[in-house]
C-alpha cells in the first residue's frame, strides 16, 4: 500500500498518543477493584462508548464490508435486530442483577446462583476463548502494520503488544475504558469520512442504490430467502436475534465488565442501554463501505470480496484521510485487544487463581496478580499470534466454539435470573447438555451455526427445567438479590427501592 507523509504522521501520532493517554490513569489504581472494575466510578456515557469500542473489531470492518459486498444490507442485521433488543434486555434485566450480586465476572455470578462446578466450566470456556482470541488479534494487527507501514510482522506484533500492554497492565479497566472512548471517536470520524466521500463520488444515496440495485436487486433487503447459506431470515430471527445476540450482550465477560465498573446501578443500566445508539450507527462505518466498494468496483470475487474495505482506503481516499481511516481501523483493533486482555486477566484472577490457588490474600496481592496475569497474556498472545498463520481457519474455529457454548450459557443465565426454581443440578446439566447438543449438531448436520445455537438453547432450557423440577430447590436465602422474583415481587424490597428512587434515603 502506498504511504504518504501526512498519513504516516497521523498514524504514528495516534499510536503514540493512545498509550500515553492510557498510562495517565495508572494513578487511580490502588486496589483490585480499581484495577478490574475501574474503582466502580465509570459514568454511563463512558460505559456506552467503551462497550461499542470493545464490540467493534478490525474483523468487523473486513468481514462486515465483505459480507455487505456479497449479500448487501442484510449484513446489518448483526448490528440491528442482532443487537439492539438484546442490549435492552441486558440493560433492564441482566445488568442490574450482576450489579446487585457484587461480582467481577459472569462466571462468578453463575457460581453464586448455581454452583462452583458451573462457575469453573464457564470460566474455563470463556478464559480459553479470550486467550486464543488475543493471539488472533495480535496477528491481525501485525498484518495491518506490515501492510500499511511496511514494518516486518514480528516487529509489528511487538509494537502492538507494547502499545496495548503498557496501559492495560498499569491502568486496568479505567485506562481501557477511557482509551476506548477516544478510539470510538477516531473510528467514527475515520469511518464517516470514508462513507461520505464514497457517497459523494456516487452522487449520494440514490446514486448508490441505482448502481447497486441494477445488478443486485436483493442488496437492499434486510431479510434474505432461506436458501441463502449465510444469512437466511429464519436463522437471523431465531438463531441470531433470539439466542446468539442476547448471549453475547447479556453474558459476554468483556462486554458486561464495563457495566460492573459503573458508579451506580442506574449508570450500569443506562450505559448498556445507551450503547444501542452508537451500535445502530455502526452499519454506516462497516456495512455501507461494502456497498460503496461494490458500486465502484464490482469485479471483486471469492475471498477478495473481504478486501472491499482496504480497496476503498487505497483507491478512494486522498492523502491525510487515508491515514485517518487507517487509524480508525487500528482503533477498532486496539480497543478490542485491550478489553479482551483485561477481561481474560479478570477471569483468570477471580475465577481460577482466587478460587483455587490463593483463596485469602490481601487486596494488593490480587492487584499484583492481575497485573502479572495481564503481562502473561500479552506474552502468550505474542507467542500464539504466529500460530494463527499456520491455521488460517483458527478464527472461524474459535467463533464456532463460541457459538457452541453461547446458547447454553444464555439459557442457564436467563433461567437463573428469571426462575427461582432453577437449581444447581439443573444449571450444571443444562450447561453440559446444551454444549453436548450443539457439539453433536455441529458434527452430525451441516446446519448454519444460527440454527445450531437456537436448538442448543432450547435443549439447554428444557434440560435445566426438567432436572431442576426433579431435584431439591435452592434455599431462599441463597437466591436473595440474584433472582427476579425475589426482588421485583418482594414488597419490602420494592418499598426500599421506591424510597431511594424518590430521594428518600
Amino acid at each position: 500500500m502506498d504511504i504518504r507523509g501526512i498519513d504516516l504522521i497521523i498514524v504514528i501520532a495516534y499510536l503514540v498518543a493512545i498509550p500515553v493517554f492510557g498510562v495517565y490513569f495508572r494513578k487511580y489504581v490502588r486496589t483490585e477493584e480499581d484495577y478490574f472494575l475501574a474503582g466502580k466510578m465509570l459514568p454511563w456515557w463512558i460505559i456506552s462508548m467503551s462497550i461499542i469500542g470493545t464490540n467493534i473489531g478490525a474483523y468487523d470492518y473486513m468481514g462486515s464490508a465483505g459480507g455487505a459486498y456479497r449479500f448487501g444490507i442484510a449484513q446489518a442485521n448483526y448490528e440491528w435486530i442482532g443487537a439492539i433488543p438484546a442490549m435492552v434486555l441486558s440493560a433492564l434485566l441482566f445488568v442490574p442483577y450482576y450489579w446487585k450480586a457484587g461480582v467481577y465476572t459472569v462466571p462468578e455470578f453463575l457460581g453464586k446462583r448455581y454452583s462452583t462446578a458451573v462457575r469453573v466450566i464457564e470460566a474455563i470456556l470463556w478464559g480459553a476463548f479470550l486467550a486464543c482470541v488475543l493471539g488472533v488479534f495480535f496477528w491481525a494487527s501485525g498484518l495491518m502494520l506490515n501492510e500499511y507501514l511496511g514494518i516486518p510482522i514480528g516487529i509489528s506484533i511487538l509494537i502492538t503488544a507494547l502499545i496495548v500492554g503498557i496501559y492495560t497492565i498499569t491502568g486496568g479497566l479505567a485506562a481501557v475504558a477511557m482509551t476506548d472512548v477516544v478510539q470510538l471517536l477516531v473510528m467514527f470520524i475515520g469511518g464517516t469520512a470514508l462513507t461520505v466521500l464514497g457517497l459523494w463520488t456516487l452522487g449520494g444515496w440514490s446514486g448508490l442504490v441505482n448502481v447497486v440495485s441494477s445488478e443486485n436487486p436483493q442488496h437492499f433487503k434486510l431479510f434474505l430467502p432461506l436458501d441463502n447459506p449465510i444469512l437466511p431470515w429464519l436463522g437471523i430471527v431465531f438463531g441470531l436475534a433470539f439466542v446468539l445476540s442476547p448471549a453475547w450482550w447479556c453474558c459476554h465477560q468483556a462486554i458486561i465488565q464495563r457495566t460492573l465498573g459503573a458508579r451506580s446501578e442506574w449508570d450500569a443500566k443506562a450505559g448498556m442501554l445507551f450503547a444501542s445508539f452508537p451500535k445502530m450507527l455502526i452499519p454506516v462505518l462497516v456495512v455501507l463501505p461494502g456497498l460503496l466498494a461494490l458500486a465502484l468496483n464490482p469485479g471483486l470475487a471469492g475471498p477478495d470480496m473481504d478486501k472491499a474495505f482496504p480497496w476503498l482506503i487505497k483507491n478512494l481516499l486522498p492523502a491525510g484521510l487515508a491515514g485517518l481511516v487507517f487509524a480508525a481501523f487500528m482503533a477498532a483493533l486496539i480497543s478490542s485487544v485491550d478489553s479482551t486482555l483485561n477481561s481474560a486477566a479478570t477471569l483468570w484472577t477471580r475465577d481460577i487463581y482466587q478460587r483455587f490457588i490463593v483463596k485469602k490474600a490481601s487486596d494488593k496481592h490480587y492487584l499484583k496478580v492481575g497485573r502479572v496475569l495481564t503481562l502473561v497474556f500479552v506474552l502468550w498472545a505474542i507467542a500464539f499470534a504466529p500460530v494463527t498463520k499456520k491455521f488460517p481457519g483458527i478464527y472461524v474455529a474459535m467463533q464456532t466454539l463460541l457459538s457452541i457454548f453461547q446458547g447454553p450459557t444464555f439459557a442457564i443465565t436467563l433461567l437463573g435470573i428469571y426462575w427461582k426454581r432453577a437449581n444447581r443440578w439443573g444449571g450444571l446439566c443444562g450447561l453440559i447438555g446444551g454444549v453436548a447438543i450443539s457439539s453433536s449438531l455441529f458434527f452430525i448436520t451441516e446446519w448454519s451455526f444460527l440454527y445450531i445455537a437456537w436448538w442448543s438453547f432450547l435443549g439447554s432450557l428444557l434440560i435445566t427445567i426438567v432436572v431442576s423440577l426433579f431435584s431439591k430447590p435452592e434455599p431462599v436465602e441463597k437466591l436473595e438479590g440474584l433472582v427476579y422474583g425475589l426482588v421485583m415481587k418482594d414488597k419490602g424490597m420494592q418499598d426500599i427501592l421506591k424510597k431511594r428512587a424518590e430521594g428518600g434515603e
Binding site: I81, L92, L224, L234, V237, W266, A270, Q494, L497, G503
Partner: protein, 67 residues
C-alpha cells in the same frame, strides 16, 4: 428443513421482527418506575430508561419497515 418452512414468505420475517420489537417496547415500558430509577441521581424525565428503550426500539421498527 421442513418444506412448509421453505415456503414461508420473506414478509413473515418482517412481521416477526416488528412483533418482536413491539413486544420488547411493551416489556420495557412495564418495568417498575422504582426499578428504572434505582440509584439515579434524580428522577428527571430524561433519565427514564423506559423512554430510551422505546426510542431505540422504535427506530428499529422504522428501519425494518423501510428495508
Amino acid at each position: 428443513m421442513a418444506e412448509w418452512l421453505k415456503s414461508l414468505s420473506l414478509v413473515w420475517g418482517k412481521i416477526i421482527a416488528i412483533v418482536f420489537f413491539v413486544s420488547m417496547i411493551i416489556w420495557a415500558w412495564f418495568r417498575p418506575r422504582s426499578f428504572i430509577f434505582h440509584e439515579a441521581p434524580n428522577t428527571r424525565r430524561w433519565r427514564d430508561l423506559r423512554i430510551w428503550a422505546a426510542v431505540f426500539l422504535g427506530l428499529q421498527i422504522i428501519i425494518y419497515l423501510i428495508f
